[in-house]
Amino acid sequence: MSDLVIHLRVNGEPRRWTVAPGDLLLDVLRREGYWGVKRGCETGECGACAVLLDGEPVNSCLMFAAQAEGRGLTTIEGIAERDRLDPIQEAFLEHGGVQCGYCTPAMVLCAKALLERSAHPTEAEVREALGGVFCRCTGYKKPVEAVLAAASTGRGGRAPVRAAAARPSRAAARARKEAGR
């Protein structure tokens, strides 16, 4: 067994980790104290372990830590600015989007990735973006409302990473198609 040394950024901070070849990113993040990353199904279905990898959501239970070399990770710990919550977090509070809270970090991060890409998503796009995070308390209505509210006040994201126009919405097309059946 030969351990690997990896260099990456977590929430903007440079990190140097020594990991075993078989270590999964979820395990290393929790070992390093990022407890906002939740262990759920460990088979990539529930999404509770989602983090952002260079701004895009991934399930950390399915990724080998060694693959994070040179990449930038964002966890829920990294999105508030000091005492100021991220606007999406504020909206989850205002709209009652939180129950037990286990899926909330992943939902907020997935919403954040969406709003950075597309500042004014449709409800179908929000549902699609949150669709990979399972809530077992009650459902998705209030989280979806919260994300739409954060988007409508223009507080959801910062400058878009990519122009929204360059990414035609497959989600919306699919939703139309499903509705037509």
Partner: protein
């Protein structure tokens, strides 16, 4: 879960990846190539002793090449879903299929090459790629070769790769309307409990017609209804040379269902899968009829 792994290699070229894989295998270990990991980690194979990571190889691209298309094997499903180069290909069915493969997180991680090389009968990319007559470029210690996608699959989770590497998906130019009066139409269909689920059945179709509405070319492909993704060749043959009508489409759909060899599992019974094969092919051909938009 992978405590038994003793090496995780991170090569930056195809040649280095093949070399590492071969030398590890000679040393007696069992290993795999890994890219997105979305299938490999879930399979949780405890006999693996080494992994060769592909995410640093220069294989992440989706582009036009000549009149066709080339897709690097480590392009993610999300890359395919959003690639401007694919929006105009075959009515966008390949991008659409990529967009149904799992959740947003899965599509950010999972790759086009992995979706094929894992050889799941339910691969969402396989039916549209079969309809598009895609070929795969495989790299091995002896050099590169190209195989038609249909001949790549050998069985459930089995391919012709043997320590080799899938490096590129090549899509030739699809049939274009001839003489400006005919047309070509395309459709992708998927049945799951939710859109992002593993398919119970998936299907794709492509049809070209001449100015008189006669079918000149047809492709029908299905997934999750046989040990490998499959083409319904007899159904295709039944369409070609005849007027493309609702009745012809329904007959071809019934024919295609008869060509399937489904199994019963947790997602559905064999009988249900066969019946849904008929329904999805009928829908796919129905969409093609609608797109062609003319009552013949």
């Amino acid at each position: 879960m992978f405590d038994q792994l003793r090496a995780f290699h991170r090569p930056s070229s195809v040649a280095a990846a093949l070399r590492l894989f071969a030398s590890e295998r000679r040393a007696g270990g069992r290993g795999r190539f890994v890219a997105g990991g979305t299938d490999l980690v879930v399979q949780g194979d405890r006999s693996l002793r080494f992994l060769v990571d592909l995410t640093r190889l220069p294989l992440r691209y989706v582009k036009k090449r000549g009149r066709g298309w080339a897709i690097g094997a480590t392009s993610t499903l999300s890359d395919l879903e959003h690639a401007p180069a694919l929006a105009g290909l075959a009515g966008g069915i390949l991008a659409e299929a990529a967009g149904t493969a799992g959740s947003r997180q899965i599509r950010t991680m999972g790759t086009a090459g992995g979706n094929l090389a894992n050889a799941s009968p339910a691969s969402d990319l396989a039916p549209p790629l079969l309809v598009l007559d895609a070929r795969l470029v495989l790299a091995g210690r002896g050099g590169r070769r190209t195989v038609p996608l249909e001949r790549f699959f050998r069985g459930v989770n089995r391919t012709v790769l043997d320590g080799g590497l899938l490096v590129e998906i090549v899509i030739p130019p699809p049939p274009a309307p001839r003489g400006g009066r005919g047309g070509a139409a395309w459709s992708f269909q998927k049945l799951g409990r939710l859109a992002s689920d593993i398919a119970v059945v998936n299907a794709a179709a492509g049809v070209a017609v001449d100015a008189g509405g006669r079918c000149t070319w047809a492709r029908i492909a299905l997934g999750a209804v046989a040990p490998t993704p499959m083409r319904a060749r007899r159904a295709e043959a039944a369409l070609v040379g005849k007027p493309f009508t609702r009745a012809a489409a329904d007959a071809a759909a019934a024919q295609a269902a008869g060509e399937t060899r489904p199994v019963t599992d947790v997602r559905g019974t064999a009988a249900y899968r066969r019946e849904m094969s008929r329904v999805l092919v009928a829908r796919a051909l129905g969409e093609c009829l609608e797109q062609l938009g003319r009552p013949w």
